[in-house]
Amino acid sequence: MKAFKTLDGLVMPLDRSNVDTDAIIPKQYLKSVKRTGFGPNLFDDWRYLDPGEPGQDHGKRRPNPDFVMNQPRYRGASILLARENFGCGSSREHAVWALEDAGFRVVIASSFADIFFNNCFKNGVLPIVLDAAILDLLFRETEANEGYRLRVDLEQQTITRPNGETIHFEVDEFRKYCLLNGLDDIGLTLQHADEIRAYEDRRRREAPWLFEF
């Protein structure tokens, strides 16, 4: 997994709550058996005026000029601002792959759906939960100032606004450690293989029917 330490990035506001994973990456793209290449289809239904199908040349499609991602001032954004319950819906990790592929490494919202939140950490994307009031402020500042950037420091757990003021955010200790070091958590778990086997031995005696199929 890609490590994440700090990021100084352009901010893109997506002023909606309940942005679901179908909106982040529509189902027709889930037919791919790969992890990459989903970026051009991030927010596909909002982003293009014509319907999208896998394998199309997305450069030739008609972008929706009203959708925030198509506004030139947000080109190259790597920090996404959203509202509550971001990433709700299906467990598709493709949603995070699409965000990552499109260049987003940080998503800031007032709340996230659990599975999406989890999937972010597995892919080097940092989801940050902020208070709705602070989020409001960031939305206002982003919209008012072209080229608005934030600096995110995972080690310090801070977001620095252009005026130098910092906002603290919470992050789970273990996830922070994995993200800072880009660790593969399967490798970490396998360090406990003996404990897993000991558990299985005990469990096999207590509840043998769980091992009988």
Binding site: D15, R16, S17, N18, D20, D22, A23, P26, K27, Q28, L30, K31, S32, V33, K34, R35, D45, P51, G52, P54, G55, E84, N85, C88, G89, S90, S91, R92, E93, H94, S111, F112, A113, D114, I115, N118, N119, K122, N123, D172, E173, F174, D185, I186, L188, T189, L190, H192, A193, E195, I196, Y199, E200, A207, P208, W209, L210, F211, E212, F213
Partner: protein
């Protein structure tokens, strides 16, 4: 020490280790796999030179992508080449790693959350995971069941464990008696309407109370299925005699002396009387009416005899804007009575409502009636090949076909429209599935979520109708 909740008990029994900061390794008993969220996980396994930890814990089935017509050609016959590759990839991966798979032409094939319980592959007291958010369905059996992402699928394949933090305990009690014509789907939609789609975030929800106890196992599965729509990764119901009777004799269930031992163990899978929940929400069953969603989030729901709400009455600015966007997408005016909403398509199926009980409920409404002239397509997609066989043995297929419904092969179908079954832009659908998100059933499609009897009533009427009034006629 206060008592433990059902969730506490399931959690404790599967704890391999726990760090001081609460990060835990949780052992997984049952891993269900389908074609859409697994290819990258198997690929990861291969690249790292790893093997599945316990192959026997895995059961695989293609469901999301499979066609619901013309199965004669088998996998090679899948017209969409991209979908075909995905189903073939699952077949190859299962063969390579020695994993049990119900292939597309197997009568046991069906939606992963239907076949797990049907086969007894889901047992009380298990941890059940699947790369699919509706894994919460299996919680109906007093199991801890939740959806995971593809990286986690790979993690479970490689280690039989997941890295987890314990959720908070939430109890949703539905007390009293459900009125006639009010189903499990109405109960869960009413719950989501009450607590919101983020209401259960960070929590494991136990559904309890006399109305939940009165539900069949099928009904409990419908409720747990949509726990994820209330923001909770896991939903569950305590074990009782109904649970045990349902599991008895299923192909993967234990037998003989092992069965007796298992049952004795399962009877303990209830929350202790003095267990403490972080949050308790109580609903009055008698007040629940048949529900219909009007917007693009399952929480945007009203009783069938109500009207589409007015955003101007909403005080929260973000919510108001969300309602406006939803109404624009759904092409609805505030104040419109739900019963005057006309429909183009009807879909009866999905892991929420495609079990035999659901098909019986829909058929009971349809019997002797015809699909209304303005309905372009009315689909019934059984949850599994075995549900389909059972329905055919009861003559339900004839009831649907004679009324003008299409009777299809099992799969996810128009629930997410990954195959050919979908809404065209602007089409409006009464659907027994679980998500009414923008474009969920096809780009530009408009979805109203309802229970199976309500969907059937809408099909024969051409618009929504309170099924309670229809059945009296």
């Amino acid at each position: 020490m206060s008592g433990r909740t059902l969730y506490d008990k399931l959690w404790d029994a599967h704890l391999v280790r726990e760090d001081a900061n609460g990060t835990a390794l949780l052992y997984i008993d049952r891993h269900l796999v389908h074609e859409v969220t697994s290819p990258q996980a198997f690929e990861g396994l291969r690249l790292a030179g790893r093997k599945p930890w316990r192959t026997a814990s895995i059961l695989a089935v293609p469901d999301h992508n499979v066609p619901t017509t013309h199965r004669e050609g088998g996998v090679e016959g899948i017209e969409d080449p991209v979908a075909r590759i995905q189903v073939e990839t699952l077949d190859h991966n299962c063969e390579e790693f020695g994993i049990t798979e119900f292939h597309m032409d197997d009568a046991r094939q069906g939606i992963v959350h239907v076949i797990g319980p049907e086969q007894g592959a889901t047992l009380p007291g298990m941890t059940v995971v699947c790369g699919d958010s509706h894994t919460s369905t299996h919680g109906a059996f007093g199991a801890l069941a939740f959806g995971i992402g593809t990286s986690e699928v790979e993690h479970v394949l490689a280690t039989q464990c997941l890295i987890q933090k314990k959720s908070r305990n939430m109890q949703v009690r539905v007390e009293g008696e459900l009125g006639p014509g009010v189903t499990a789907k109405d109960v869960v939609l009413a719950i989501i309407g009450e607590i919101g789609t983020a209401g259960g975030t960070g929590h494991a929800i136990e559904f309890a109370g006399s109305a939940i106890e009165s539900l069949s196992m099928e009904g409990r599965m419908t409720v747990c299925n949509m726990a994820i729509e209330a923001g909770a990764r896991a939903g569950m119901v305590a074990v009782d005699q109904k649970t045990i009777d349902y599991v008895a004799g299923r192909p993967f269930a234990p037998t003989g002396e092992l069965w007796e031992r298992a049952v004795a163990d399962w009877r303990r899978l209830v929350s202790d009387a003095d267990a403490r929940f972080d949050r308790v929400v109580t609903l009055d069953a008698g007040a629940i009416r048949p529900q219909v969603t009007w917007g693009t989030s399952p929480e945007m729901v009203v009783p069938v005899d109500a009207a589409v709400p007015d955003p101007e009455q909403e005080s929260d600015a973000v919510k108001r804007e969300g309602m406006r966007k939803a109404l624009a997408y759904m092409d609805l005016e505030p104040g419109t009575p739900v019963t005057s909403i006309r429909l183009d398509k009807v879909f009866i199926g999905s892991c929420t409502n495609s079990r035999i009980e659901d098909l019986r409920a829909a058929a009971a409404v349809v019997r002797g009636r015809k699909v209304a002239a303005n309905i372009r397509q009315a689909l019934v997609v059984p949850g599994s090949g075995l549900v389909k066989q059972q329905a055919e043995a009861e003559g339900l297929d004839r009831v649907f076909l004679e009324a003008g419904f299409e009777w299809r092969e099992p799969g996810c179908s128009m629930c997410l429209a990954m195959n050919a079954d979908r809404l065209e832009p602007g089409e409006r659908c009464a659907s027994t599935s679980n998500r009414n998100f923008e474009g969920r059933q096809g780009a530009g499609g408009r979805t109203h979520l309802v229970g199976p009897a309500m969907a059937a009533a809408a099909a024969v009427s051409g618009h929504f109708v309170d099924v309670r009034t229809l059945s009296e006629s």
